[in-house]
């Protein structure tokens, strides 16, 4: 079967949209090469940097004296540095890279404004670096998920604007008029981020609102960033790459649109736990949003399952497929856990426990990062026109990352529930609770370590491919420029 590459082929039923003459695929790849590779490579570097911070933070629970004399490396600074490197350094850049590549390919047009995107990506990296240094220096803003100081967020915002502009213009100039569901998700995500980021930055960092409202805004921002921004880009990738890999159209585009609409309207309301010192209607609305979200989440599961029906690729046929498959499973699981956490009965146990980071990691790492890994493994060889030197390393990464996530999330989730039940039982002393959750924490560090190994494997694999391709190009250029001049008599 021929490769599926356009909306009309991905859509069930096919056809329908009028199309201009598409650009040749090779030209599209060439236009994407520099900006997308820049975003991917910087994302992977930040992933490694973030892992180092993450390991330092995790080891502190094994020995409290570890690096305790250095204010820069105290837990309360290293932990947010880890999260910010993961969220803004890795996840956002990988997501933007994948989004741009998908938009160009689905629109069958060249990536517009490539130089602007490159400048934007550099600004974004500068912003992340400034932000993380600021956090380590002690200039964190104090709002979770928005810790980067003002100067860093301004740089990030400028960088984002340039990158998103390239994406929007590419979308506008598409040769294939019909929109595929992934383009819809990407378009919404590209608009969503600047709105929530500017609102949160202006009202929290630049001119803070009064009192408890700050907490409400922070919850709103964090929830929108996770559920909407990362959710939309991750789902766009899943709905694009899974049908492409199994060479079958998506089961239903309409279910996709339904998922999009319900997520946009209800997913953006979640995030405020019950019992917070905010007007009660806010947490009530949040619970409603989180519970209604179960419907689109089940829709995702149904749509993907039906697409895969009888078409599961054989093991080893496509190495990136398993990453998407794993990612979608984690998405469904994280969504259900999120709905459970939002209910009063379960929320009063899981509030303030290790269940909260377990849920966040399941979504951010299990779903989003895994989906991005799959997409990067799919895209990079096409961009550089060469296969990975050691494809076996991809499988190794899959096992390391998959095993790592399970080993990280499961103990924390179970430990979190136990911790929550003990916290609610006043006869248990606090140190007893701490002691009982230490075991779970220590197991989860092993998961952390596996994931870090996985990152290293991926980085080496991608860097190896890029270096070998770069060397080939350099040699060819050298040969071309130094060939003996033919002297005609």
């Amino acid at each position: 079967m021929s490769e599926i590459s356009s909306p009309s082929q991905l859509n069930p039923g096919g056809g329908g949209g009028q199309a201009d003459a598409p650009e040749p695929v090779l030209e599209i790849e060439a236009s994407c090469r520099a900006p997308v590779l820049l975003l991917f490579v910087s994302a992977l570097v930040w992933l490694l940097v973030g892992s180092v911070f993450g390991m330092i933070a995790a080891i502190k629970f094994h020995g409290t004296n570890f690096l305790a004399d250095c204010s820069w490396l105290t837990y309360g600074r290293v932990h947010p540095a880890h999260l910010n490197a993961l969220v803004y350094g890795f996840a956002a850049q990988a997501g933007l890279g994948v989004a741009l590549w998908m938009v160009a390919h689905l629109g069958r047009t060249r990536l517009a404004f490539a130089p602007a995107i490159i400048v934007g990506a550099k600004l974004w990296n500068l912003g992340v670096a400034l932000g993380i240094l600021g956090i380590l220096y002690g200039e964190s803003t104090g709002y979770e998920w928005l810790e980067m100081p003002r100067y860093a967020s301004a740089t990030l915002f400028c960088g984002y604007t340039l990158i998103a502009l390239g994406g929007l213009v590419t979308l506008h100039k598409r040769r294939e008029r019909q929109l595929y569901i992934s383009q819809i998700f990407v378009l919404a995500a590209l608009f969503w981020f600047p709105w929530i980021y500017s609102t949160a930055s202006l009202l929290l960092v630049v001119k803070p609102v009064r009192g408890a409202l700050q907490a409400g805004l922070d919850y709103w921002y964090a929830n929108n960033l996770m559920n909407i921004w990362f959710g939309f880009i991750g789902l766009a990738a899943a709905f694009y790459f899974i049908p492409k890999i199994v060479k079958r159209p998506l089961y239903s585009q309409y279910i996709g649109i339904f998922i999009f609409a319900t997520l946009a309207f209800f997913g953006s309301w979640g995030g405020i736990p019950e019992g917070t010192p905010l007007p009660a209607w806010m947490s009530a609305m949040s619970t409603m949003g989180a519970v209604v979200m179960v419907v689109p989440i089940l829709g995702v599961a149904y749509n993907v399952l039906r697409t895969l029906m009888c078409a599961l690729p054989k093991w080893g046929e496509s190495r990136s497929f398993s990453f998407f498959h794993f990612g979608v499973k984690c998405y469904v699981l994280a969504g259900l856990a999120g709905a459970l956490m939002a209910t009063i009965r379960f929320g009063k146990i899981t509030n303030f426990t290790w269940f909260v980071p377990a849920h966040t990691q399941l979504f951010l790492y299990g779903f989003f990062a895994m989906t991005m890994f799959g997409a990067i493994y799919y895209i990079v060889p096409r961009l550089v026109g060469a296969e990975f030197l050691k494809p076996g390393l991809i499988t190794l990464h899959l096992f390391l990352a998959g095993g790592g996530i399970l080993l990280y999330v499961a103990p924390l989730a179970i430990g979190g529930v136990k911790q929550g039940m003990m916290l609610n039982d006043p006869t248990k002393s606090f140190s007893e609770i701490t002691a009982s959750s230490l075991m779970f924490l220590r197991i989860s560090t092993m998961g952390d370590a596996l994931m870090v190994l996985g990152h290293l494997v991926m980085f080496l694999n991608v860097a190896g491919l890029l270096v070998s391709v770069g060397r080939k190009c350099a040699t060819a250029a050298w040969v071309g420029h130094t060939k003996p001049v033919e002297v005609t008599p």
Binding site: N65, L179, A188, T199, R210, G211, A212, A215, G216
Partner: protein
């Protein structure tokens, strides 16, 4: 589907609804809160923190204490916060939005690796103990119990004593294991952080956090509070760190 503008409008509308709901509406509802007269003490609540405690708030923020310590008491019946003794007021003891009016930033926290600190100032008002706990958390715990809190030694200065010099007044009184000839002196940041921690209390009886009815008898009539004034001026209690003491005793 190929209508870009329609899609854009739909997305815009969804986001606008969420923004109106969670960013604008609460601002309209509680965005212009001011200090109010507490029902029990007759003093303005919350009091603005004194300079040292405000400085300590920034130390608390910079070192990310809120990643392990929450600052909110959940309502009775929602978890065991009250039974654990974390509540500050008798009655509807949970934290209310009024408690955070002058916090900048508001650091509610989302984990309880350590105990809740919303009313830490009511439980601990001895600066020496707090400083000792910051320097070596394990030292202030009973032998059988373990603390996972990292030591904050960088908030202290280790000084070598000159020959014949005795410990300065400020120095921590550490166990005998500490090498002789040295002393540990808290930096200004440590003092500020301790002042902030002692300033943490949310104990005033408010309209939205009334005393709990324990009997069928009518509630004890407290001093009639004048209506809240639309002013930001905080008299009397404003200049102190100490927990407001109920005047009706």
């Amino acid at each position: 589907m190929n209508s870009g503008p329609l899609l854009f409008l739909g997305t815009f509308f969804a986001l606008a609804v969420s923004w109106l709901g969670f960013a604008l509406a609460p601002q309209l509802q509680i965005g212009d809160q001011n200090a109010v007269m507490a029902e029990d003490s007759g003093q303005y609540y919350p009091a603005m923190r004194a300079g040292m405690a405000r400085q300590g708030e920034q130390v608390y923020r910079a070192n990310g204490c809120y990643y392990c310590h929450s600052q909110q008491v959940r309502p009775r019946g929602f978890g065991g916060d009250v039974e654990r003794g974390w509540g500050g007021r008798s009655g509807r003891v949970q934290s209310v939005d009024q408690d955070y009016l002058y916090d900048l930033p508001v650091m509610l926290g989302d984990q309880r690796v350590g105990p809740d600190l919303a009313n830490y100032g009511l439980r601990q008002n001895n600066e020496t103990n707090i400083l000792l706990h910051l320097y070596d958390p394990q030292s202030t715990m009973p032998k059988s119990e373990k603390s996972v809190m990292p030591p904050y030694r960088f908030l202290f200065e280790i000084r070598k004593l000159k020959f014949g010099e005795t410990n300065s007044e400020d120095a921590l009184k550490l166990s005998d294991k500490f090498p002789a000839g040295y002393e540990v002196v808290p930096t200004e940041n440590a003092h500020a952080l301790a002042a902030y921690l002692m300033s943490l209390h949310s104990d005033s009886i408010l309209f939205e956090a009334p005393p709990r009815k324990t009997t069928n008898a009518p509630p004890v009539k407290t001093t009639k509070a004048p209506p809240a004034q639309a002013t930001n001026v905080v008299p009397a209690a404003g200049g102190t760190n100490k927990p407001a003491t109920p005047s009706a005793k």
